[in-house]
C-alpha cells in the first residue's frame, strides 16, 4: 500500500530540479510577455477609437472566459495547418503570455481608473503630451493599486505552467509523468512536484506581500 522510497526520491531529484528551472523560466518569460502585452491591451481600451476599444474589450473577455489548456492546444496545432510550425516553447509562451496579458490588462485598467481626475486635469494644465501624462503622472500612481493584482497573477502563472506539459514542454509535471511511466511509480514524483510547488509559491506569495508594502511606503501611501 503505502511505500514511500527515499532512495527513489534522491535518484529522481536532480531531474526534478532541472525541470523546476524550466518551470520558473516558463513562468518568468510568460509573465514578461503578459506584463508588456497587458499594458498594450489596457491602453488600447482607453483610446478614442470606439471600434478598437470594442474589439480589444471583446477579445480580452473571450480569452478570460475560455480555458488556457484549450488555448495552448489552439496555438500549437493551428499554426502547422497554415504552414507555420511553432516549437512547444514558442507556442506555450504565446498562449500563456496572451492569457495572462488579458488578466493583467484588467489589473492595469483598475489601477489607471483609480487615479483621481484632478491628476489628469493638472497634467493637461501643465501642457503635457499624452505620452508624458501617462509616463510621468498617471502610470506611477496607478502602479501601487495594481501591485497586489500583479503579484497574484505572478503566482497564478507559475501554477498554470504545468498545462504546458501537454504540448511537450519539459516542465515539472511533464518530467514527473515521464519518470512515473519509466519506473511505474507515480507516488514519489507527483508528490515531490506538489511539494516543490508549495516550496516556491508560499514564499513567493509572502515575498510579494513584503515588496508591496515596501513600494507603498516608498510612495508615501
Amino acid at each position: 500500500m503505502f511505500d514511500w522510497k527515499w532512495d527513489f526520491v534522491w535518484e529522481i531529484l536532480p531531474r526534478l530540479l532541472v525541470a523546476t528551472g524550466n518551470t520558473l523560466l516558463a513562468a518568468g518569460a510568460g509573465y514578461a510577455i503578459a506584463l508588456v502585452l497587458g499594458l498594450v491591451f489596457a491602453l488600447a481600451q482607453r483610446t478614442p477609437y470606439w471600434a478598437l476599444t470594442f474589439v480589444v474589450r471583446e477579445f480580452v473577455e473571450f480569452i478570460r472566459s475560455t480555458p488556457l489548456l484549450l488555448q495552448i492546444f489552439f496555438v500549437f496545432y493551428v499554426g502547422p495547418q497554415f504552414g507555420l510550425r511553432l516549437s512547444p516553447w514558442t507556442s506555450g509562451m504565446i498562449a500563456i503570455g496572451l492569457h495572462y496579458a488579458c488578466y493583467l490588462s484588467e489589473v492595469y485598467r483598475g489601477g489607471i481608473e483609480s487615479v483621481p481626475r484632478g491628476q489628469w486635469e493638472a497634467a493637461t494644465a501643465l501642457n503635457m503630451t499624452i505620452t508624458q501624462k501617462y509616463r510621468r503622472v498617471i502610470i506611477p500612481q496607478a502602479i501601487p493599486t495594481a501591485l497586489s493584482g500583479m503579484g497574484n497573477y505572478l503566482v497564478g502563472i507559475l501554477k498554470d505552467t504545468p498545462m504546458l506539459s501537454v504540448i511537450g514542454v519539459a516542465e515539472l509535471i511533464h518530467v514527473a509523468n515521464a519518470i512515473g511511466s519509466e519506473h511505474y511509480r507515480f507516488l514519489e514524483p507527483i508528490t515531490m512536484v506538489g511539494i516543490i510547488f508549495l516550496a516556491i509559491s508560499l514564499p513567493a506569495a509572502g515575498l510579494i506581500r513584503l515588496l508591496e508594502g515596501r513600494v507603498r511606503r516608498k510612495l508615501g501611501l
Partner: protein, 221 residues
C-alpha cells in the same frame, strides 16, 4: 472542409463532450461550495485545531496547481487503497481546488457583516448555530456573490483539465477529433466558442440574476 460541413459531421461528439463538461461543472460546483463553507467557517473558529486544519487545507490547495492535484488524486490515492474512477477524480479535484479559493471568499463575506448584527442576534438569545445560519450567512452571501461569479468562471475553465485523465469532456472530444482529422482551427475554434458561450451566456447571467435575487430578498434594492 468548411466549418458547416465540419459541424454537420462532428456535432454529436462535441455535444456529448459539452454535456460531460456541464456535469463536471455542476458536481464540482456543489462540492466546491460545500468545502468553501466548511473551510471558511473552520478558519473563523475559536478552536485552534479546526483553524489549523482549514489553514493547511487552503494553503496546500492554493499553493499547488490544479493539474498536480488532479494527477495526485488520480494516480496516488489508489496507492493508499482509495480507488476512484476518473469521472469522480475529475470533479473531486476541481471542486477541492475551488473550495480552497471559495473558503477565503466565505471568510471575507462573514467578516464583512456588521458587528451590530452579531450583537443583535446574541441579544435575542439565538444559539450560535442559529445565529450563523439565520442572520450572518444570508448577509455574508450577498456581500460575497460578486467574486463568486468570477470563481465560477474559473471553475468552468478548470474542468477542461479533467480531459488529461481521459474524462470525455468537451476538451477531450476536441483533442480526439483533432487527432483523427487534423482540422485544428475548426475543432479547437468551435470548442473555444462553446466554452465562451457557456461562460458568458449561462454562468455569468445566472450569477447576476442570483445577486439581484438575493439582494432583493434581503431588501437591499
Amino acid at each position: 472542409m468548411t466549418i458547416l460541413d465540419f459541424l454537420a459531421q462532428y456535432w454529436p461528439r462535441l455535444l456529448s463532450g459539452t454535456g460531460v463538461t456541464i456535469a463536471q461543472f455542476f458536481l464540482a460546483a456543489v462540492l466546491g461550495i460545500a468545502i468553501s463553507l466548511a473551510m471558511g467557517l473552520m478558519k473563523l473558529s475559536q478552536n485552534r485545531v479546526l483553524r489549523g486544519a482549514a489553514i493547511t487545507y487552503i494553503e496546500i490547495f492554493r499553493g499547488t496547481s490544479l493539474l498536480v492535484q488532479l494527477y495526485w488524486i488520480f494516480f496516488v490515492l489508489p496507492l493508499f487503497g482509495v480507488s476512484i474512477d476518473k469521472f469522480t477524480a475529475g470533479y473531486v479535484a476541481v471542486g477541492m481546488n475551488i473550495g480552497a479559493y471559495g473558503a477565503e471568499l466565505v471568510r471575507g463575506g462573514i467578516l464583512s457583516v456588521p458587528r451590530g448584527q452579531w450583537e443583535a442576534a446574541l441579544a435575542i438569545n439565538m444559539s450560535p448555530a442559529r445565529r450563523m445560519w439565520r442572520i450572518i450567512l444570508p448577509q455574508a452571501l450577498v456581500n460575497m456573490l460578486p467574486p463568486w461569479g468570477n470563481l465560477m468562471i474559473e471553475l468552468l475553465k478548470g474542468t477542461a483539465l479533467v480531459s488529461l485523465i481521459s474524462v470525455a469532456d468537451l476538451m477531450f472530444q476536441a483533442k480526439q477529433i483533432n487527432g483523427s482529422t487534423f482540422l485544428s482551427a475548426q475543432v479547437f475554434g468551435t470548442a473555444l466558442v462553446i466554452y465562451y458561450i457557456l461562460a458568458r451566456f449561462l454562468v455569468t447571467p445566472f450569477m447576476r440574476w442570483l445577486e439581484r435575487a438575493m439582494a432583493r430578498k434581503l431588501g437591499k434594492v
